[in-house]
């Protein structure tokens, strides 16, 4: 394979059967989004959003992100010649901050205890005060689910003859909405299932209900199921992925596999479940849970 730009290598990720972790007589396939150029599914979203934005000279990108989207935007911005500033919660993992800086983005930290909501609010304030900034804002940008409708979902429908359930992590809702819509066209009975993080108390601490936010991209009614996954369950599944399948994946991927196994067990024999593993484990290498230790509850993992 020869490409003229790294941007041409975004998407078209492989599906691999989870032979050890699939329940008896069911097949779980994992879509390895960690194989995108910056190591996460957000490369798809970043490319689609920047191409759709048609920036003018002098305009700069600004985005609230706890990491992966920022890193992806930083790569796309670099290769397309734009400046990028990211607003990220101070408790995002250090690898993500380091990577963002290495890819050339400027970083503004928002209070960690306010989580993603706090980063969103701060970025909105900055953008409102300076019209040089263009906030692509993945939470309400239709190019986000569009990237998964035209990419992730299309690829799954192309590569498999049967899909009974799609499981993906719930962040912005982009993957679930976009890939879900495409898969419903190809497989009308498919269940679209969200794996949702159950945040630790320290992360939730200062959020008030008034800070509540449902991303406009996300239409909960399009989900067939929405299941909470604790940090401990996600960490255990991340270790199982590595130990039994050789897949080195991130925390949300663990949550997604945890849910995929539960969903597969509840479906009839012969069922096929696809789970989308959003990133590789590299950005979490400093985390303490790899050898079975408790996962830190004061970190915003995804």
């Amino acid at each position: 394979m020869v490409a003229s730009s790294l941007l041409d290598l975004i998407g078209n990720t492989p599906l691999v059967e989870l032979r050890e972790l699939s329940p008896a007589n069911r097949t779980i396939y994992a879509k390895l989004e960690g194989q995108n150029p910056t190591g996460s599914i957000k490369d798809r979203v970043a490319l689609h959003m920047v191409r759709s934005a048609h920036l003018e000279p002098g305009q700069e990108l600004l985005e609230p992100t706890s990491g992966n989207t920022g890193i992806s935007l930083a790569l796309v911005a670099k290769l397309m010649g734009y400046r990028l500033t990211c607003v990220m919660p101070s408790n995002a993992t250090p690898e993500r901050k380091a990577l963002l800086a290495l890819y050339g983005a400027s970083i503004v930290e928002s209070p960690g205890e306010l989580g993603s909501n706090g980063a969103v609010r701060m970025a909105q304030e900055i953008a409102a005060q300076d019209d040089r900034y263009v906030m692509l804002f993945q939470y309400e940008n239709e190019a986000n689910p569009g990237a998964h409708y035209d990419g992730t979902g299309l690829e799954i429908a192309r590569d498999l003859e049967r899909v009974d359930a799609l499981v993906a992590g719930l962040g912005t809702g982009g993957t679930l909405m976009g890939a879900g819509r495409r898969l419903r066209e190809a497989f009308p009975g498919v269940q679209v299932v969200a794996a949702e993080p159950l945040p630790g108390d320290p992360v939730m601490g200062l959020r008030s209900l008034e800070d509540g936010y449902v991303p406009p991209v996300l239409n909960v009614e399009e989900l067939d199921r929405k299941l909470l996954v604790s940090n401990d369950e996600a960490a255990a599944a991340v270790r199982a992925l590595l130990d039994r399948e050789g897949i080195f994946a991130g925390v949300s991927a663990g949550a997604v596999v945890h849910v995929a196994r539960r969903v597969a067990e509840e479906l009839p024999a012969g069922s096929v479940v696809v789970c989308v593993l959003a990133d590789g484990g590299w950005k979490y290498l400093s985390a303490p849970f790899w050898h079975g230790e408790d996962i830190a509850e004061d970190v915003l993992w995804w």
């Binding site: 957000k42 706890s66 108390d201 209900l209 800070d211 449902v214 991303p215 909470l228 995804w302």
Partner: protein, 90 residues
């Protein structure tokens, strides 16, 4: 009786408790029972016959909005989790 887990932001309305108890065979009955036991907590999560828009209610880990909403059955041994709706990350 079901155990209802209360997020940090609502604990002051629950007298500081991380968990409270409420009874009901559906989410509606349970939230109405909760509202009569702890009106301050109940009014933050439930009112005018609906779950408040920035509150998510889970029965055994599953969001009731993708099940049968207020008609979702609650078992005696069910755990109910209340959470503020929030944007996920990345």
């Amino acid at each position: 009786m079901s155990v209802v887990r209360v997020p940090p932001v609502l604990r002051s309305e629950a007298g500081g408790a991380r968990e409270v108890e409420a009874s009901g065979s559906t989410v509606r009955e349970l939230l109405e029972d909760l509202s009569s036991r702890l009106p301050a907590l109940g009014s933050r999560v439930y009112g005018e016959g609906e779950i408040k828009s920035f509150v998510n209610v889970y029965v055994d880990g599953e969001d009731v909005r993708t099940r049968d909403g207020l008609d979702t059955p609650v078992g005696d041994s069910s755990t109910v989790i209340l959470l503020p709706a929030m944007a996920g990350g990345c």
